[in-house]
């Protein structure tokens, strides 16, 4: 374990990194692949269900895998500043890796639609945070334009190094399982991650490191489901702010991942997404952000209706930690804290009542 130093060192020969390159890393990757016990039992289905807990990356989301690559290459190429549009996770990661590298970070975030934790991260890591009057898609158009006019490196997933870094999550899944899953379920917003996983699976497959390939299943929030609708959406809306994106940047690549793998796109309502977030926390002890739970919500529904057959091995990527968005968790809680007097009799009465003692 402890000799692990991040994805670039671990997968150097599979990444476009020179021998002398100075690596900018926070020891990202190497995240747990956890098998779920209680949820398959609740579903009453014979299914091997795993989650890839990407919330345990340094800044709390999968973005760090791509950012270590993007920032390492930016520094190698002499850049002194990076730039991104973000629903929050990308800006947190960009800000942290820029700090680690000793360069500047500029981030554009949508006004009033960003989780508290993510904003705190970008700000505390010293990024210049611009909150625009517009959504992520508007911000994305702006940063692409700015990046061609000023000496700043764009680190959104249109930066090819981002996907190169992110593909390493597929390598880790294969190594942990000793095989490829039958189905790999992901939340889909900007669509870079489903693209990157498919790159990773195909790469190991091409080199004979794994026999099978998973079907790639992308799940979107109903209010922000361009892949399900078949066209971009101008005014995406969902409580799952990390996938509140209507004009995905990796449109063609994600469609190809779905089609080549024999997978599918589907949508979930906000209540279905939040219910899955809560179920995972209550039944398995795993806390993810709302967007992440879209993958599990989709997998559960498709297992239940037999679209994912019994006997399958299914992996769901949990893209970000639940601590990114604590307000959502508290808002949807069924049991808020019980305020009681600090007396033994009082505490004993409450607990005894609960355990029937």
């Amino acid at each position: 374990m402890s000799e692990y130093n991040g994805i670039i060192e671990r997968y150097r020969e599979r990444l476009p990194i020179g021998a002398g390159t100075r690596i900018v890393s926070l020891c990202e990757g190497g995240t747990p692949l956890l098998r779920l016990h209680h949820i398959p039992a609740l579903l009453g289905k014979d299914i091997a269900l795993y989650v890839k807990y990407e919330g345990l990356n340094p800044t709390g989301s999968f973005k760090d895998r791509g950012m270590t690559m993007a920032v390492t290459k930016a520094v190698e190429e002499g850049s002194r500043a990076i730039l991104c549009a973000s629903t929050g996770n990308t800006s947190a990661s960009a800000a942290a890796y820029a700090a680690r590298a000793g360069i500047r970070a500029f981030v554009l975030i949508p006004e009033g639609k960003i989780a508290l934790g993510k904003l705190a991260q970008a700000v505390l890591h010293g990024a210049l945070v611009m909150q625009i009057q517009g959504n992520f898609d508007v911000g994305m158009r702006l940063v692409k334009d700015v990046a061609v006019r000023l000496p700043v490196t764009l680190v959104n997933s249109v930066n090819p190094y981002r996907l190169e870094g992110q593909k390493t999550a597929a390598f880790e899944v294969i190594e942990a399982l000793g095989r490829a899953p039958d189905f790999h379920c992901l939340p889909v917003g900007n669509a870079g991650n489903i693209t990157a996983y498919w790159m990773g699976y195909r790469e190991y497959h091409r080199h004979g490191l794994v026999e099978g390939l998973p079907r790639m299943c992308g799940f979107q929030a109903s209010g922000a489901a361009p892949f399900v609708r078949g066209h971009p959406i101008d005014h995406p809306e969902t409580v799952a702010t990390a996938i509140r994106i209507g004009h995905p940047q990796s449109w063609d690549l994600a469609l190809r991942a779905q089609a080549e793998s024999g997978g599918w796109f589907d949508e979930l309502s906000d209540p279905e997404i939040l219910a899955a977030q809560r179920l995972l926390a209550e039944q398995e002890g795993i806390f993810c952000e709302p967007a992440s739970a879209a993958s599990l919500a989709g997998a559960m529904r498709d297992v239940q209706r037999g679209k994912i057959p019994e006997g399958s091995l299914v992996v769901c990527t949990l893209t970000g930690h639940g601590l990114k968005d604590p307000d959502i968790a508290i808002a949807q809680s069924s049991a808020p804290p019980l305020k009681i007097e600090a007396r033994l009799a009082e505490v004993e009465r409450v607990i005894a009542g609960e355990i029937g003692s």
Copy 2:
């Protein structure tokens, strides 16, 4: 990496775990040991300074190392419920591991003095959260009394399995460095962690797995510094809520760790702690909660005044992730988000002004 399955499987032969015991794990441990680059340069001192980033445990704090042990043993012994008092991190961890095990968790937290993220965790993981009119020390007395009267297992660090699990962090430090550090700096609240690290260091030393031993340096907040004062404190106060403890449960053991190792206890003001939190985020890209930063603040001061001599290898434990307490981060930020119009000229103007382009 990916074959890693948590501290019990990794260090089974060094833990009181039987061959047939069902392990309750969320894949805790295996956290990064990150070398700091910019802060030693700012100090102008020749020092090898590392942080052990325990915020990357599943629930975002070092508590998970002890909780996997405490809950595994509780379940083995037939317990159906666990109980703790907590400033927040222990309750988050207890709630998550109880959910993973399929048993109940009861937690007592102080009223109005708990970080938002930690409360969200305990609640969403389905614990029964009792917020008492009193501080942590009052809660600690209550749970000790309740645990002898009801069939619930106490999982505070007075539970000996907790420290057994936590000692594994010292094993990881030794393995990552290939040696013991010269100084190991920790924030000290309830004093279980400094005790556990010293157990771990001594164990590897006793078995000839490492030659040296570090000096153990414990840092407290000035308003909650019983070890510095030499006696318990009745009304502890600090912004670093995780160490807002006046009556540490591991008093004798922590004193022994300090004395045997030739280390020391010292105190830091709240502003010093928050400044270290911010410096670490801005200069190194690492986000920890306020209490965690006490270790770094103490180490920096002792390096600067020569108490920690140049040429030393120093490890600071960062006990929890900054996402645990996003409000603090935003409150102390120097540069809040800049609200701007979503126009190219506007974004370009701001960035060009910053980079002098």
